[in-house]
Symmetry: C2
């Protein structure tokens, strides 16, 4: 049972444990981070000031034997978007926190100087001044802290991007190999942690687990696992090819961002596809079908190696391949993998980074397709040159500085890798999610029953998807369980049963969706108090005026319809 | 009588003249620009997209013999703030437009390529393709166009900043000598003109004036002129020392921005004061007491020359001396004058530029007081290096990219040169004006009856000042007439009488203030539709938490009070 909240105050350099408020009992993951941020953070505060907080929360099913349930939610007011934000990450952190019975870690205040780590250990938990880590990249930090505290410890850390308060900055989490390859990527939450002067969090690996599953739980978990692994996507394509399987799929749909969203099909698609990735990795002795967290039955991650078989990076994902690949006109897998690695080192979101480099290309700073130039730019972001710092502020800042008017952002956040003119449901998600252009708020790609090229039905589809994904993010289940669970009330009921077995609730599928609805309402209300209105629930104008060559469509879901999506 | 509106459509490359709508009859200047923007521009459009418009409007008294009545209002949705914006400029443009009977010029659409000038001439008016002007600075453009069309022509132009769509970009206007020394500086309106691909507007100098003043008008104008010139500020200190007289005054009040608003008194104040400026200029053969427009009785401008007596720049103003001087720790008049000149050439707002350089200094990019380094940075803005482009996006973008958290902006616009902890009324203006941190929306400096260091009375004072200044901006009268008119209903009634004599109205002082109230309401409603709420009517947090050394005060006017300023 996750029954404690760890409160970490950097202004007072104090750490304390408190019981979970009764009203938080049945919240977890995104539902809990958004609720705590909403309850404790002044909505119109400055994201990098002393009033903002960072909340880490495992999902409701963390620490249990439910399959693929180890996602961690990280919440804060975002310095990139100015909205409330939840950024979701795999790796080993959520399960590690759950073993300490921690339902959430709330990090508040600001240290006046120096750099700290938060150590969560069996013998002691507290802040440790650790200035020597300043300026180190996430890989170096993970090595150093795992050497010092034990190789099985989980390390959560920020890179140079977070230290320098880049609006594009992630929070890295070590994977099962101990590499910081998993990132809470979106919304610049690394900078919020950096503004508090937390460089890393080390969680001791505890073999103690207080979880004793009931028979009903074990049976439900087994049914879920079977459903997930027998699904052709979550148990087939994703395991075989990873999320990279989407490269060909989205390209086929005409929605693969190409050269700063100026086309939806990429002539070099075969060089960056999931099939090519799997072939390359396998031939070189890398790995596909690799789990990012223990207990995952989907295993969509991979280990990318160079021609000599040496580790380059892990988890080369679809969004990375599209944003740093086709969207920059780059068709060189090794170059993309190199940039992915640099992003992980520096703590940069690959989506925001690829989007920013693409607008720099559109602005004439370098040529589309210039792979080495793009690598150099990511390197500049790490070195902190003026151009690197500009890119570090994300797609919008970069585009504006270079005089680009086709800037693919919503609420200041770069679009994920689905052109909204080709997959219109995703356009509605980008426009209306409480957090800017996130695909993880609801992905309409390949959804049956709604023509992706037509405006009809997209608002309803987007609403349903957003609610579903929000509910999943509350449970800690990986979003990819949606392939099995989506549209299957029986299976969703099983998730509810698992929760009931632990929390003493009597939920069904509808109650679980209700948690999604309630969470989005909390987030929207926070945004309202922060100064947001539905006037910002829209896509950049060029998507509505410029025809996408691959599909011959513009984005034509009416703003008025989108603006009422959660009011119906 | 100003009875025509000139509509210029860059998408269609068409120019047409239309009659003034009856409801616009008694609007002018800011009242008219804001009304047209509000009526014609979709509030949540993209400022640099095809839906935004630029409106130029002389005031209600333009083209008459009323003293100091030749201010020009430029309106648009601002790419810097995202709000509606009016930026106000002296020089020769308003009177030149008035001679053509033009109540407003509305510039809309976007050309797909090339650069255009708009020529307003006695024989013909229209768009002229003029690509050769691209890349030229405002001084070069003024020389070329005055050579081509006549030295007495007025030139309105954008520099490299506007061409490159910098959020910090001005619209320059030639002064009585033909130099582009007067700028509609704030809010990045140069970029809006640039986004339409208008490089310049040339207005032929017409000696024809249809204005035949009534005796009542002539008598009223004379009374106004006498009141202005007999006032110790508008007819004394401002004429003798220019706005630079404020350097010592504001320093004495402890509110002179020093080293990025970290202090309110500057140890080098005597090197950049109005007294020092007047002495320097006079000794070298420059000029003080110089009018920026014909018919001005205040004559607060100056001509700054180098040690050999060669022209450097004109109109070295208080805000420039403070933002590029004390706020950067620079006490070198010649260096500040050089930067002012570069800003005029490139089309950069000196307030936004000084604020941006100061945050770059705070971010460690160069040292406070490094005058040559600061000059080099302004030069980089002109050259368009990555650092120059970053600075060209203004104070907020620069501060964020360099990891600075003390960023003095409201709604994305850099603060003018009054520390809001020392002159709290200005803090309320910054927070609540519809346009971000403008001092020209209402300047509480030296206002009797309200203690500038106390929160009491500041909201009411700010409201009154904002209404008054908005009304003045509608008339085309220079804001500095406020020293004579402020608190003097008899004189304000005379302004109303002048308007009545031309427009057939029967206004009094109250009606004139009513125009201010109505205009602010229009602007606030535009902002509401653009997505703004009162949550953004606040100062950066550090002003409320960090004590200003010079006055030992923080900014403590309650947010709740400020947020209701126009609701009472």
């Amino acid at each position: 049972m996750l029954d404690k909240i760890l409160r970490v105050n950097l202004s007072e350099l104090k750490v304390s444990t408190e019981p979970v408020l009764p009203e938080y009992h049945t919240l977890g993951g995104r539902a809990l981070t958004s609720r705590i941020i909403s309850d404790e953070v002044k909505a119109n505060c400055e994201p990098l000031g002393g009033l903002n907080k960072v909340v880490l929360a495992p999902g409701l099913l963390a620490g249990t034997t439910a399959p693929s349930s180890g996602r961690l939610s990280v919440g804060a007011k975002s310095p990139l978007t100015g909205t409330i934000k939840e950024s979701n990450v795999g790796g080993t952190a959520a399960q590690a926190l759950a073993k300490f019975g921690l339902k959430a870690v709330v990090i508040e205040g600001q240290a006046s100087e120096g750099w700290y780590i938060l150590r969560i250990g069996l013998d002691s938990t507290g802040l440790v001044r650790f200035d020597e880590l300043a300026g180190k990249d996430n890989y170096a930090v993970a090595v150093e802290l795992r050497q010092r505290y034990g190789v099985k410890n989980t390390v959560i850390s920020i890179g140079l991007a977070g230290e320098r308060l880049y609006a594009n900055s992630t929070i890295g989490v070590t994977d099962v190999e101990g590499n910081p390859s998993r990132h809470a990527g979106r919304g610049g939450l690394g900078a919020v942690l950096g503004s508090k002067r937390i460089k890393a969090i080390v969680i001791e690996n505890s073999s103690i687990s207080s979880f004793r599953p009931s028979e009903a739980f074990t049976q439900g978990a087994r049914q879920l696992a079977e459903a997930i692994t027998s699904n052709p996507v979550s148990g087939g394509a994703l395991t075989a090819f990873g999320t990279a399987i989407l490269v060909n799929t989205v390209n086929g749909a005409g929605g693969l961002p190409t050269r700063n969203f100026s086309d939806g099909r990429f002539e070099g698609v075969n060089q960056i596809s999931g099939e090519k990735l799997a072939e390359t990795v396998t031939n070189r002795g890398g790995k596909c079908g690799h789990p990012c967290q223990l207990g995952c039955v989907i295993k969509c991650s991979n280990i990318y190696v160079d021609q000599s078989g040496n580790y380059i990076t892990s988890g080369l994902e679809y969004e990375t391949l599209a944003l740093l690949g086709s969207n920059c006109g780059i068709e060189d897998l090794d170059a993309i993998a190199r940039m992915d690695r640099l992003c992980d080192q520096f703590g940069l979101d690959t989506i925001e980074t690829g989007g920013a480099i693409a607008v720099a290309m559109e602005g004439g700073y370098l040529k589309f397709g210039d792979a080495q130039g793009a690598i150099d730019l990511v390197d500049e972001m790490g070195r902190g040159t003026p151009m690197g710092r500009l890119l570090g502020q994300g797609v919008q800042a970069t585009g504006r500085a270079l005089g680009v008017t086709r800037i693919p952002v919503v609420k200041g956040q770069g679009l994920a890798a689905y052109d909204p003119r080709a997959i219109k449901g995703n356009g509605v998600v980008y426009a209306t999610s409480p957090m800017g252009a996130d695909h993880t708020c609801g992905n309409a790609m390949g959804h049956p029953g709604v023509d992706p090229l037509k405006p009809e039905g997209q608002v309803d589809l987007s609403r349903d998807l957003q609610i579903f994904c929000t509910a999943l993010d509350a449970t800690g289940l990986c979003l990819f369980t949606i392939f099995a669970l989506g549209g299957n009330p029986n299976l969703i009921n099983i998730v509810a049963i698992l929760i009931n077995e632990i929390y003493g609730t009597s939920w069904n599928a509808e109650d679980l969706m209700g948690l999604g609805v309630a969470t989005i309402a909390v987030e929207k209300e926070f945004n309202r108090q922060a100064g947001w209105t539905s006037a910002a629930d829209r896509l950049p104008e060029f998507f509505t005026t410029e025809t996408l060559p691959s599909t011959q469509t513009v984005f034509d879901v009416a703003e008025d319809d989108m603006q009422t999506i959660f009011k119906a």
